[in-house]
Symmetry: C2
Subunit: 343 residues, 2 copies
């Protein structure tokens, strides 16, 4: 354990980026959610959307030097960066959204270029317009050299297992790119009682769990077995849903007919981050989803991020082989980078 | 294990009832969802609502003799019966809903009277009208001798932790009645991809998890520490949500201020059924929620019910004390019936 915690060999697949600034929108009508940055306390800026502060973020969102220094402290050799999810802008008209996401992807490419190999990219594509999304996907792969993309747990309320995204996922599989699914504008908001933070604490994992379930019930991975999809926050609530989905599959003939491989097996085709803040829960996920499917994730640099991902995994997981898989080997396979590990 | 599986000593807190028939509505306008029964295959009837078959159910929904015989097969000495959740009718005008629920409660009382002590009642109250709900609550307690009530995981979309229900829960606590929370008209329906059965398989546990979380974030059990609330389907997704809620509580000052006892501790004040169809998941729930808080639940007599609740618990739980708690002692305490076990 002490060796692994000192080695600086961890790979974090869940870390976010906000550019230091946004261009003014050049079109005729500025979209309501077009973001801008406003000064805040030292080393911080307000992300402004629709005339309000959406979130106040630290300069670690865009400062590569500070990020790389923090990574060393956290025991990380590599981080896959993705946009702050709200920037995915699926609700914006496709034209301006495409402009915005291209800008963000270019900013991420700049960060990666200055990271001396410490960062790889999970870019953004405008999924409200599949053709534009596929065009940007190709640019991410062939021009910017990104490892994959980040997508929301739903696209304007549509589940990821919807047939609407079939062509898009086929293209992702063809291009051999990784997909990181992050919670976004979740369902169940009217079920919360308390401060606004409960959105990310409770509704986010609920939406991610249903997203993963929709990928299973739609057999997406059976049609595209090489597709690599990872779910944030340990798959959210999927671990709680899965035994009941498995039982339903065994009990209801209509589910037996429509789900073409058992949910428990399909769940082992998906990837998950280890961001669950609890050792017994992490071990439960490893047992349920497989030791080859779990990877470090931190949510860096937001307030709610895990500052000790490697030591946490090292102390939770006693089996050395499993620990190595979770700390780095699974992420290499997911991201499609060197030293592939056989599945 | 063999001793406990033969003893017929299990108590099932999650089992449903549909009356054999419903009266015609006597008012001026029949509410759209007023139920009726139509003939189906032998020993079955269609429950008709809004002119359509809501569900086809077996006569085990109302036949006490068959139920008691099945209970013996299942190793159960006692069953707490509650209405098929859709009958709770929160969306109906309060007047006719009150008439309907009084009728259902009276039918349940008849079943209990004919059960030779094998059944106890978890009745229905019209929560769309708190005054009427409290009136019926008193009738359930003082006239019908019920152990408690069944309520939905939301009341017309309102979470259980809403201040709107404060007065009602205060009255429940005062009357020392048990509350069984069952999934009903869940959120997240637009996130499902596949047959209609996915509502009960995936959306039900999601809604129950958020319902339990709202009870925690609203500190309901701190204001009414003697309130006994049980959540169906093992608390749904709560086990997945809880570590993140606990971490959020530790990280966000605003959650630290609004949640008055840690979520992990509050979760141990709630009860849960063991209806999760998976031994490792059941053991995980026992570890997270406490061995004093989990009870058998079967969903009898619906298609998706657990036919071997006692042997399942007996084979999953190696510790004899814990097994006795889960099989019967916790349910006695929850239902407020003899042989109380110290908490």
């Amino acid at each position: 354990m002490s060796a692994i915690s000192r080695c600086g060999c961890g790979i974090d697949i869940h870390a976010h980026v906000v550019p230091a600034s946004f261009p003014l929108y050049m079109g005729a009508t500025v979209p309501a959610d077009w973001p801008s940055m406003a000064d805040a306390k030292p080393c911080h800026k307000h992300v402004m959307m629709a005339g309000r502060v959406y979130r106040t973020v630290s300069d670690r969102c865009w400062d590569v030097g500070k990020r790389v220094a923090d990574m060393a402290e956290m025991g990380l050799s590599l981080q896959a960066i993705s946009p702050m999810p709200e920037l995915l802008s699926y609700w914006m008209a496709a034209g301006p959204a495409n402009d915005l996401l291209r800008y963000i992807n270019d900013q991420m490419a700049e960060m990666i270029a200055h990271s001396e190999g410490r960062l790889v990219g999970l870019g953004a594509v405008p999924l409200q317009d599949i053709d534009r999304a596929i065009t940007e996907l190709h640019r991410l792969k062939h021009e910017l050299g990104f490892a994959g993309i980040e997508i929301g747990s739903n696209i304007n309320g549509k589940p990821l297992g919807s047939p609407d995204f079939e062509g898009f996922f086929a293209e992702v599989a063809k291009l051999d790119m990784a997909v990181f699914v992050h919670a976004l504008r979740p369902c169940g908001m009217d079920r919360l009682v308390g401060p606004a933070q409960l959105q990310q604490v409770l509704a986010y994992p609920s939406d991610v769990g249903l997203a993963a379930a929709s990928v299973i019930t739609s057999n997406l991975l059976l049609r595209h077995p090489r597709l690599r999809i990872a779910f944030s926050h340990g798959g959210g609530t999927l671990a709680s849903l899965l035994p009941r989905l498995q039982e339903g599959y065994q009990v209801f003939p209509v589910l037996q007919e429509s789900i073409l491989e058992s949910p428990s097996q399909q769940a082992r085709r998906l990837y998950y981050d280890a961001l669950v803040y609890d050792d017994p829960t992490l071990l439960h996920l490893i047992a349920k989803f497989g030791e080859t499917q779990i990877m470090l994730g931190t949510d860096y640099p937001f307030a709610f991020h895990d500052r000790t991902p490697v030591t946490r995994a090292a102390s939770a997981i006693s089996d050395e082989t499993t620990r190595d898989l979770v700390v780095s080997a699974n992420a290499k396979r997911f991201l499609g980078i060197g030293e592939h590990v056989a599945q």
